[in-house]
Amino acid sequence: MLSPDSKHISGVRASTTKLARIAVMLALALVLSIVDGMLPPLPSPVPLRYGLANVAVMATLVLLGGGEAFSVAMLKSVFVFLTRGLFAGLVSMSGTLCSILLMLAIEKGTRGRVSIFILSVVGAITHNFGQFLFLIFKDEYRASFVYVAPFLILFGILTGLLSAALLRMTMKPLEALFNRKIRPSS
C-alpha cells in the first residue's frame, strides 16, 4: 500500500521510492537483529531475545504503511533462511508472521490510533508465542506450554516496552528522512 504522499508523484517514481524505503528499513531491521544477537542474553529460563528488529518493522508500519511493514518483516525472515538455513528460517518466519499479522490487525482495527506501547507489546508477545508454538508443533521440544507461557508474556512486556521506547526516540528523525526523500524542491 502506498502512503498518501506517494499518490502525488508519478507511478515509476512512486514505486522506486517505495522500493528504496523498504530496502532502507530492511537494512535497518537486519542490522538491529545482528546487534540483538550480540547483546547479553535476557535473564530468563526460556531462551528469548530483545526483538530490536521489531523497532524497524514497527517504524515501517507507523510511518510508511501496512504493506511495506509486511514486506520488511517477511524479507527479514527470508534473510535468516538464506544465512542460517531452513529450520532457523522457519522458526523466524513463524514468529514474524504471527507478530506482523496481529500488529497489522490492531493498527487497521483502530485506524492507526493504538498507542505505540500496545503495538510493541502485542508484537513482542505474539512473536514469542509464534516461535514457541511452532517449536512445540514441530516436536522439537516437549516443554510444557504452561511452564513457558508466563515467561513469554512477562518478557514480551519488558522487551515490548524497550522497543516502544526506542521507536519513540527514532520516529521523528526517520519521518524527516522520508518526507525529504520523496519531495525534492525542484
Partner: protein, 165 residues
C-alpha cells in the same frame, strides 16, 4: 487514508495545493505527523494488567510441589529421544553423545542438569543454565539438541535408560 486517524479538511486543503512548493518545515506545522503518535495511554495499563493476569494463571498452574515426585531429563537429538537421565540428589556427572560430540551435559547434585559445552554460535543453551523443573528445557537449535525435564511417577522409576544412538 487508513493510517490517518483523522482525515481532516486541513489535510484535504493541503492536498489540493501545490505540494512541490512546500518545504519540510511547512509540512510539519500543517500536517498531522505520523511521528506524533501517542506513546502510552493510561488505559493501556488495563491491557497490561489483563495480560499479566493470564501470565500469573499459567505460572500458578505450573507451580506445584515437586519433593514427592521424581524427575527425568530427556535428551533429544534431531528430534529423537536419545537418553533419559534420572535426576537424583547427589549425582554429579558429565554426559556426551557420539552423534553430537560438540555438546556436553552436566548433571548437578541438586537435581538439575545443564548444557555446559556447545559449539553453536549463540550459546543460548549454555546461557539457559541449570534446569530442574518439569517443563523446563535447554535447547540448542543449531545443533538440534534439546534437554527437557519430565516429571515421572514414583512407581515408575525403574532406571530404564534406552540409548537409541
Amino acid at each position: 487514508m487508513l493510517f490517518y486517524g483523522k482525515c481532516s479538511e486541513e489535510e484535504n486543503h493541503e492536498r489540493s495545493g501545490d505540494r512541490n512548493r512546500m518545504t519540510y518545515n511547512d509540512n510539519r506545522v500543517s500536517k498531522p505527523s505520523r511521528a506524533q503518535r501517542v506513546f502510552f495511554r493510561v488505559r493501556d495499563l488495563l491491557f497490561v494488567a489483563a495480560v499479566l493476569a493470564i501470565a500469573l494463571t499459567f505460572f500458578l498452574l505450573s507451580k506445584r510441589d515437586l519433593s514427592g515426585s521424581s524427575l527425568e531429563a530427556h535428551v533429544y537429538i534431531d528430534g529423537e529421544l536419545v537418553d533419559r537421565i534420572v535426576l537424583e540428589t547427589g549425582v554429579d556427572k558429565d554426559y556426551s553423545y557420539p552423534v553430537r560430540p560438540a555438546v556436553r551435559l552436566h548433571q548437578y547434585p541438586d537435581r538439575t542438569i545443564a548444557v555446559i559445552v556447545s559449539d553453536c554460535p549463540d550459546k543460548t543453551c549454555i546461557n539457559t543454565g541449570k534446569i530442574g523443573k518439569p517443563g523446563a528445557f535447554a535447547a540448542c537449535v543449531p545443533n538440534r539438541v534439546l534437554v527437557t525435564i519430565v516429571e515421572t511417577d514414583m512407581t515408575d522409576t525403574t532406571q530404564e535408560v534406552d540409548v537409541v544412538t
